[in-house]
């Protein structure tokens, strides 16, 4: 084989590679399956090791987690729609503190501020304060000053905590249901519902309607004539 021919066979080899692969797929099926499931949830070995490291650690002390749980319940009190325990909000916050370590100092510092403040004011830890006392504390830190771009440390802490609680809840099963998210329904999308269009004083252009896909025929296969012209 001269150089030209060998390059040619190399080249054609890569072209035919797809076919060759397909034809031998049945034989080592188990091997292929194993390869796919090796990365069970779409993680590379490096990522998996990182996940295992995170999940094997605990950042917040149990006393801090109890305070987080209490705060989360004050931010989003349980009702018939859902609650932060079922939504696993404290676990979510524990995870975020490890995965997004830049918030650790602010979180831990804020939790300490709470106890410092309540010990000075009421002579006890935040968790042991009455409902009224806890509300009084939150009233101090839950309303950022709209006239200032700089907020006190404890106010910024509470804003962060509120964000984590809200996003933890509204990305949970109960929260998504409460929000009314209706997507993630593949295949059929038949446009904006008529009543919604009507509410906004809008409508689809009649002349365009025949051009839109007829959903009742969406599974029909196209037909071509012998010259390759589309006939359906």
């Amino acid at each position: 084989m001269n150089r030209r021919d060998s390059i040619r066979s190399l080249f054609l080899g890569s072209m035919a590679g797809g076919l060759a692969l397909e034809s031998c797929v049945t034989e080592p099926k188990a091997a292929v399956e194993q390869k796919i499931w090796e990365y069970q949830y779409g993680r590379t070995p490096d990522e998996q090791a990182y996940d295992e490291k995170l999940l094997g650690q605990q950042f917040f002390e149990n006393s801090e987690l109890a305070k987080i749980k209490q705060l989360a319940n004050l931010i989003l009190p349980p009702n018939e729609e859902g609650n932060i325990e079922d939504a696993k909000v404290p676990e979510f916050i524990e995870f975020m503190a490890k995965d997004f370590s830049s918030i650790q100092t602010q979180m831990r510092g804020g939790l300490m501020w709470l106890d410092n403040h309540t010990n000075k004011t009421y002579g006890k830890d935040f968790i042991n304060c009455s409902d009224d006392e806890q509300h009084q504390v939150l009233d101090l830190i839950a309303y950022p000053d709209s006239n200032s771009s700089e907020q006190k440390q404890e106010v910024r802490f509470f804003s962060l905590m509120r964000n984590l609680v809200m996003t933890g809840y509204f990305t949970s099963e109960a929260g998504i249901k409460e929000l009314g998210y209706k997507g993630n329904q593949p295949n059929v999308w038949d446009g904006v519902p008529e009543d919604v269009l009507k509410d906004h004083g809008m409508s689809y252009d009649e002349s365009w309607m025949p051009k839109f896909i007829d959903q009742s025929k969406r599974n029909d296969l196209a037909q071509w004539d012998e010259n390759g012209n589309l006939i359906s």
Partner: protein, 255 residues
Amino acid sequence: MVGKYLHDSTGSDRMAFVPELMNRKRYNEDGVGGMHLYSPWWLDNKKLDFPRGYHIEVWGGLGMPSYGTGFNPNDLNKYLGLKVGGYGNQLREDVKKFYGSVMGMSGRGESIAREENYCEIDPTTVDEFGIPVLRFNYSWSDHERKQARHMHNTFEEIIENMGGIVLGDKPGADRDYGLLNPGRIIHEVGTTRMGSDPKKSVVNEFEQLHDADNVFIVDAGPFVSQADKNPTWTIMALSWRTSEFIIQELKKQNI
């Protein structure tokens, strides 16, 4: 010539709050945003202070909640004269009220390919496999900055006419009118530009190196310019043509 005429799309974005979209009826709205359409630029560049053009991608909607959903749950209250912040079940109502009421526009445009924008092999840095990485030398010119300014004027005009409230400050000259850094739109093309003159180009019309008959470049390197659109389809079209050329030349045993 290799490495020169590197260029990316221009890009700038803006968000808006649309009060009419508060408390929306829920329905499946996945996938309705971000549509792309090839269409000619219809403004007259003779009346504009920049060359070429751009398109606008519109986004928003009742999307799937993800990390960040519920952040700053009632910040938009400030536009309604209502209190911002707080705690308690009112926050649930705030999140539901504002869900789907924020939309945005992303302008993506054509930049001018210039010889002085180039990449080269970094003499001091390698990647984890020991392969030298690329080093980029790229700056925008006023062509792109003025285009970004026009984008923001257009965003604001559209948003105001639809009854929306533009969020954030309008970026001024100090921020290149909101023009994102080169590379941010990840449409980097050029560096092995196509042409018939080996002094001014790297590959010929079949993406074949002027310097080596059996080397072809079938990515976006051969682009001498790119429209405001994503480069993938053009890469595919050129690769197709190159593949046919390779097969034809191979049959003749020319390569």
